[in-house]
């Protein structure tokens, strides 16, 4: 079985050849420390400036509102803790949702232990928060609203602009984890009233271990990594020049032909969704039918368990996931599927297939041809299935 079909683009993406070529010189040749004032390092500094422009352009911010980090998780941690500690005298209340990525959720839980109060908004069956709930949750103590742009598991996109407006009205900072949105949804931080936004390179065909935090000019934010004067004194540590260059290039490529890209991916996604609905009984699409990431397909297959489904797919060369890759260390059904109101026994049978730039029609055909057989086989073994 030599076929290899990767349908886990939401977990991570390959570095594109163009991106790798852009990074390459910064390992062995232009290796100087960008903080150095003279010849060595100057190339690196310029390259970082270019990357900063590219990332800024991708989200519609000013160049000097972008700060590079060691990944999406660091950006989330920094944004939330940085705002919380810098504003704790104004209030200690944070609003988030119960379908956030763990980088947000666990940071909020940590802050609870440190004396902050956190409201975890519930989502509706499609994974969207209710704007009314948000309004009701706001108190005089609220300093931060952090709601993800698009969910990594079920692909649901929030009403970011409305959330931003409400935050703005109440003079509360609004952070959004846009790790999954970048390259898949048009992002304009000004139009959408976003104050802080996290992104990560490895979800847009850039390298792992690089991310960025956008911080609207004028916002007071505590540093998270203290030390040297890098990133205009806001994020210490010798810059991952090659990684940052790769992120810049990837961000540029991901947003250059955004509409075209989205419509191509969406077509494949809809083909897969429709195909599964047609061919397999007792399935249900998780997440929102339309406010959904263009590459996200997430189904529950009743009566079977996700891991055995994944394993079977793996055996025919198809890589998917049964929830967030980050949680695969756990045997629990994902907190996102629970939050959508799925019963445990059903949540266990979920499969996420995410489509990306290298996915072809043939890949989808292959999955549609084989998935029904796999599901059948597993159902035949299941004590829950009776037909």
């Amino acid at each position: 079985m030599n076929k290899r079909i990767y349908l886990d683009y939401a977990a991570t993406t390959p570095v594109k050849e163009e991106v790798f070529q852009a990074m390459k010189p910064y390992f062995t040749e232009a290796f100087g420390n960008p903080s150095s004032v003279y010849s060595y390092g100057r190339e690196g500094k310029q390259a970082i400036d270019t990357a900063r422009k590219q990332v800024a352009k991708a989200i519609g911010s000013k160049t000097d509102e972008i700060f590079f980090t060691g990944g999406g998780s660091e950006a989330d941690n920094w944004a939330i803790k940085g705002i919380a500690y810098a504003n704790k005298n104004k209030g200690k209340h944070i609003i988030t949702s119960n379908i956030e990525h763990h980088a947000v959720l666990h940071t909020c839980e940590y802050l609870e232990k440190e004396g902050f109060k956190v409201t975890y908004l519930e989502v509706d069956e499609y994974g969207q928060i209710r704007i009314e709930d948000l309004k009701k949750a706001i108190t005089d103590e609220t300093i931060l609203i952090t709601i993800m742009f698009a969910n990594n598991e079920v692909g649901t996109i929030q009403h970011i602009k409305e959330i931003g407006e409400i935050a703005r009205e109440h003079k509360i900072y609004f952070h959004t984890d846009a790790v999954q949105a970048l390259g898949n949804v048009k992002i304009d931080v000004n139009e959408l009233n976003i104050d802080l936004l996290s992104v990560s390179a490895h979800k847009v065909y850039g390298p792992k271990g690089v991310g960025a935090l956008y911080v609207r000019k004028g916002i007071k934010l505590f540093s998270f990594i203290h030390g040297g004067a890098q990133e205009r004194r806001r994020r210490a540590g010798t810059e991952n020049v090659a990684g940052i260059v790769g992120f810049g290039k990837a961000a540029e490529m991901a947003t250059e032909n955004l509409e075209e890209h989205v419509s191509k991916i969406k077509k494949l996604r809809d083909k897969l969704i429709d195909g599964i609905n047609e061919r397999i009984k007792y399935v249900r699409l998780n997440g929102h039918p339309t406010d959904r990431l263009p590459g996200n397909v997430n189904f529950v297959f009743e009566f079977i368990e996700g891991e055995s489904l994944l394993l079977s797919l793996d055996l025919i060369g198809v890589a998917g996931s049964s929830g967030s890759a980050c949680t695969s260390g756990s045997l629990d059904p994902s907190h996102v599927l629970m939050a959508l109101g799925l019963p445990h026994e059903i949540a266990h049978g979920s499969l996420r297939l995410t489509i990306g730039d290298f996915t072809t029609e043939e890949d989808i055909d292959y999955v549609l041809e084989n998935l029904p057989k796999i599901v059948d086989r597993l159902r035949m073994m299941s004590p829950l299935y009776e037909e």
Partner: protein
């Protein structure tokens, strides 16, 4: 991640199915936890003539069911009762640490089926004295509820 043995039993599971009018049926696990194992026995003269299983669960659970049924088929009930989850694990050439509980499930399902048979037939087995089929077998990380 899994051994070849596990993969073999996962892909070509032995003894999948049900037995009509089985002499004993046992079911353990909980759909909430993502694992249910059901064992059907056909017992004649204290010997397990046939055994079938149905499992809702991960790859390890399916492989454990398969190998365990193979191990007890043709054996006496007493022999079957001696089967431990460790034996199941070694028959599979090992399981990853977080998956050990799946083998426990197989041991419990068999005990549970034999208990059913014993109760129907007014028998008593020493090995089943402390066995409680409804006991939560989960000693792993699940912490829902």
């Amino acid at each position: 991640m899994y051994t070849e043995k596990v993969m073999d039993h996962f892909m070509n599971p032995r003894n999948v199915g049900e037995i009509d009018n089985a002499s004993g049926v046992g079911q353990v696990g909980n759909a909430k936890c993502g694992d249910i194992m059901k064992i059907y026995l056909d017992v004649k003269d204290g010997i397990i003539e046939d055994v079938k299983f149905k499992t809702f669960g991960c790859g390890s659970a399916i492989a454990s069911s398969s190998v365990a049924t193979e191990m007890i088929k043709g054996k006496t009930l007493e022999e079957a009762l001696k089967l431990t989850n460790r034996q199941v694990v070694s028959a599979l050439d090992g399981l990853p640490a977080p998956k050990i509980h799946c083998s426990v499930l197989a041991e419990q399902a068999i005990k549970s089926a034999i208990l059913d048979y014993a109760q129907k037939n007014g028998l008593q087995f020493d090995e089943l004295k402390d066995f409680n089929p409804d006991e939560d077998h989960h000693d792993h990380g699940h912490d829902h509820e």
